[in-house]
Chain length 377, copies 4
């Protein structure tokens, strides 16, 4: 009988949002089993959480260092094969670094670290470890995002010219937006940026994932609308790309009434694509020479790369969770490959995305604070 | 340590669609474990399927009778606590009936049986058994369907007048639509109706679920567009309701280009609601006296009954799978209650929905074949 | 210098809705001048209306008979070249008949007459007169309706199978819906049907216009939801077509919250089209073999027949008025042809549409009142 | 009998786009008559155009100076009461200035002049003349734009924080985009900017019209994507407003596949509005505390200011032309007032909008060419 992949988790205790999504995504895969973890810093609530998750009490640890030690003490065929890190930002680096050093595969929430220095250090650790590392940028897991990527790779859009990204949420419009909000605008926990670290990095990463283009220069206007916040809760960034394309990211967590309105529009000389996270089953393709087309997930026209991450027939809506799970699926496939001594495929965001997002953040924060028009990345 | 709920499955072998959805829905719950089953009629492929599902080989059976016998031979705390029946229609009744008689809880795909006689017999068996029974009408699991139901119960729509339901798919437009298609238009496997049994029953059940209204008379025009088919692949039904409301269901599996386009519009004297399965996060509310409102899942305005089945914040799309899983969640909650000797809540479709859908099918087939304008239910 | 076409009008006095639309549509053409009329039955308000419309007082008449007499008394190059009839239904026939007999071209609001007997009589008059006759079914004037018609004529949809039409309004949901409402549900003014005469005829005519298919059998359920009304304010009709296609029209004027929600969906063996009057710039084309396409007015893919009635570039929304005006444009072109002794083109609805809509109305009213399943047309 | 308002036109000859729109808008008003003009610089084609427009040959002039002279030579009750200027940009100022000086009312296409110096000079001329001046920013004529303006004035949105405007067209993506395109990217005819003068000014003006907020600082990145063009065909501008709000305008005429995609989103502390020119009948209103609302033109919730410019009931689509015509309507109303010796209402864009748009253009061009982050207006 086959063995399920053994997963550990750090973070994701009571009241957490993203930790629960990670667990549900892992469950969906069917071959991943959560067997160990630190579910928050309060040992009692961590244990309670573990009970609800059917994690044995002796695999619940007080902190990540104890977890590494405890797991290493187990026989190789019992200990976790990877850890998911779902803590606030400032813990990503030390935990990821430590698990990699200890010889565990790591799947880490974004943003990867607090700065590019940590990011580069993590890269060195990763390379020395020979282990697997995934950075959870879940939006890359959507089938129609992969469809956009493929169409661009196939030249359907011609030369890319303009990239406009909107990412608007309203949840931080009020000063007291709950537990999830507190750490995201606290420099100690979140780093040098609030809104842009939280969602601007998704925008930067998704552009790069879909188009393959690197941002070379930025000009930014970060803002803090809610009094007393130490970090930005809103920002707009002008973009220049390596190939001469231009663009803009406008991201906000104080856009009243917006849910999770992430829209990317990419224009080339021949055609353009538009993808809207809140209607993720559609990829809108426009050109001057043909009627507008809406590619629908798993319907005619869906490319192989997109079909591979489809679970349901067209018209049976898939969403955020399935996109998330498709990252877990690819990561788990690489662990199976690892078991079999095969090379990993690496079809998920990773260390380079993390380095890139840190450089992006550092550049826009510097630019926004200065008088210079452009800052190079 | 808590024990997961032990689930068995009959059907859902290689190439099956809905069986896989059931398993993924069960997995999402987190506290359900698939431990036994008959995954198709070919023993070898059934075993192969079981291996992929981490079901132990000694719990894979050659047929449902062997499964009942085998499971009954196990100690009570090992044997399955419920079986999911995901076979073609003609097997629903014998299997459900047998498992109930043997003392197992049953979750069964729709349509419940082949005719109302079987439906009533199953009801008798169920009542004698004291066990739990759920009928999988997954669309009732969507949060915004529950929102519609609640708003109508609260009187927001006033007296209901008109109910229009469209359910269009294009997949059976070609004569050879694959394995999934074959049995759905084979009278031996599907019963007296093809399209209407497959999706018309969803329409009838959803109307009843949301509005609480019973259909009292129908006038139907069932059609078979693809030559050689023995059952309807399309149909339209005029509806009259107990309260004087009127309506129409038009359902088709030969509507070229349609994916799974299920739309329900309900008009009352004060307001109206519209829900579209392919955009399930929205509930559109219209009235003559106010601007159009779009209630969004888990956003302001979402009622408790809907929030209870939300997993993600607004703007993070949920879909078909989560709706499916919410039925599993409620059924699993009742099994926990059963373990604890508590009364079940029954917040899922059941035996009465199955009886109702059979009477509806029998009435429309009779009417469509005759010269009489109306047939009473 | 060229001469503008001289137009007269009967109806369309103070508070009228459709008369004003006719006048604005005529104005848009640029070569039509309103020079005479009877603007309602009250002579004073008719004169006041005329003043606002720059119609000379000596061309304002007390009734249509006086108007015919007065205009005939003028020299041929002064008298009106056509009359627009925009009265309640019961006046359509006598006025149109009288003007045709007197040698005037006629443009008449729908429904053409009160019954098929009048319709046939009008046809005889028309044929004897040698004059031009247009029936105002304005929805046929929309570019994307013409696009649908052309694509079907070109065989893009294959053999047509299913035609579903929805036409929902909410304005008659309350008992007192104003002046416009009163006559529409008064048998003396509206004829044998309320809702179906008002909007069901649009549905029937549009189906025929776009597809070229004739309805051969109907089964109907007309309803009156608001107490005290003598005519239907709602109805649903099952349709069978000459080529074996099936369909449904559901029309309602008591669908709370609906504005003017007219949707037609036509499914063929190869592809399907959907047009929504409230988003008239789009024609949605679906098939099982290609991504969904949205043909946009005057964008790539628009056929010549549609482009001919486009006034603005794509993305500059046109609407109801332009569609209306395109009927006037075609009718005016035929009057120019008439002046030049050339044959008319007849690119607008006419006498046959009027006969057809009367037969349709008579059949559905008869069927709805009886016990027979089907009524032949 | 009343007299129609006598209108003249400069520009709008064969092949022109906007001139024809002006004429159709004027016609829609019903009380405006085109009686004189210079329809392009070729006298023969100007005369031919005039014939089609029913303009008498003796009122067709060779140039605008001749037109002023000719019209002044007519008796006051024959000569034009206003002139519409629909030429390329560089002619706006000299023609408007001359007509105002000669005592004519002027309605002028945007952008008003080539620079702010001209704009201020025109203002001086206007003030000295005592005549009426309208600047055609047609988007302000849409009912739902007026609805947005009113809701903001009423405080529904709270304090405004963020304003995001997109204006994307694809028509200049190819180097040869026809006659309309040539002058728009020719510095001699268009001025210092191409795309931003053509559509960026609409964005700037609409923001100011709806919100009442002035832009105080800009940071811009203008681009020219098609080789050989001397002016920008694309640009993005960061905005800072007098009240602390931030925003962005991204405008492009090389966004392949876009028609006339003008979207404005305005976020306040309490609520937000979104208006899309291609779906102009909707105003989307969002907040964190209520379900999303879609205000529909002329439906419940429409304010008086918006209703005033509605011509048709809700659900009967109005569009670009009606918005245009509503500017003409207001301007014509002021001419009626002028006739009667009453004060004008001025409910249309005017001289201040023209000055503002010139300052905006000059600031963004200067900023885009320099290294400074921000340029003050």
């Amino acid at each position: 009988m086959k063995q399920k992949i053994r997963m550990g988790m750090v973070g994701g205790g009571a009241g957490a949002f993203i930790g629960d999504v990670h667990r549900r995504a892992a469950r969906l895969c069917g071959d991943i089993e959560l067997v160990a973890g630190v579910f928050g810093r309060n040992p009692e609530s961590s244990k309670a959480c573990a009970r609800d998750l059917f994690v044995p009490e002796n695999r619940v640890y007080t902190d990540y260092e104890a977890m590494i030690k405890g797991e290493l003490a187990l026989p190789a065929d019992k200990r976790i094969e990877f850890v998911s890190i779902v803590t606030p930002n400032q813990w990503h680096f030390p935990i990821a670094n430590a698990f990699l050093k200890a010889g565990f595969n790591v799947l880490c929430e974004k943003p990867m670290t607090l700065n590019s220095k940590q990011a580069l250090e993590l890269k060195a650790t990763l390379e020395a470890s020979g282990k697997l590392f995934a950075l959870m940028h879940n939006y890359t897991g959507y089938p129609m995002v992969k469809q956009a990527k493929q169409m661009i790779a196939d030249g359907v859009l011609g030369k890319l010219c303009k990239i406009n990204v909107e990412y608007s949420l309203g949840w931080l419009a009020s000063p007291n937006a709950g537990k999830q909000a507190v750490w995201r605008v606290d420099p100690k926990q979140a780093g040098i940026s609030g809104c842009m670290a939280d969602i601007g990095t998704h925008a930067e990463q998704l552009i790069n994932y879909i188009t393959g283009l690197k941002i070379t220069e930025v000009s930014a206007d970060l803002a803090t609308f809610v009094e007393g916040r130490e970090l930005d809760d809103d920002g707009t960034v002008l973009l220049r790309f390596c190939n001469g394309a231009r663009g803009v990211i406008f991201a906000s967590e104080v856009s009243t009434g917006e849910e999770n309105n992430f829209i990317i529009k990419i224009y080339g000389t021949k055609a353009a694509v538009e993808w809207r996270q809140q209607s993720p089953e559609d990829l809108i393709v426009r050109s001057n020479d043909e009627p507008m087309k809406i590619y629908r997930r798993n319907w005619a026209g869906t490319c192989d790369a997109a079909r591979k991450v489809c679970n349901l027939p067209a018209g049976h809506p898939e969403g955020f969770l399935e996109a998330f799970a498709s990252i877990y699926r690819s990561f788990a496939d690489d662990i199976h490959a690892q078991r079999a001594g095969k090379a990993p495929v690496g079809d998920y965001p990773g260390i380079e995305d993390g380095i890139s997002e840190m450089r992006f953040l550092e550049a826009i924060v510097e630019n926004s604070n200065g008088d210079k028009k452009w800052t190079k990345l």
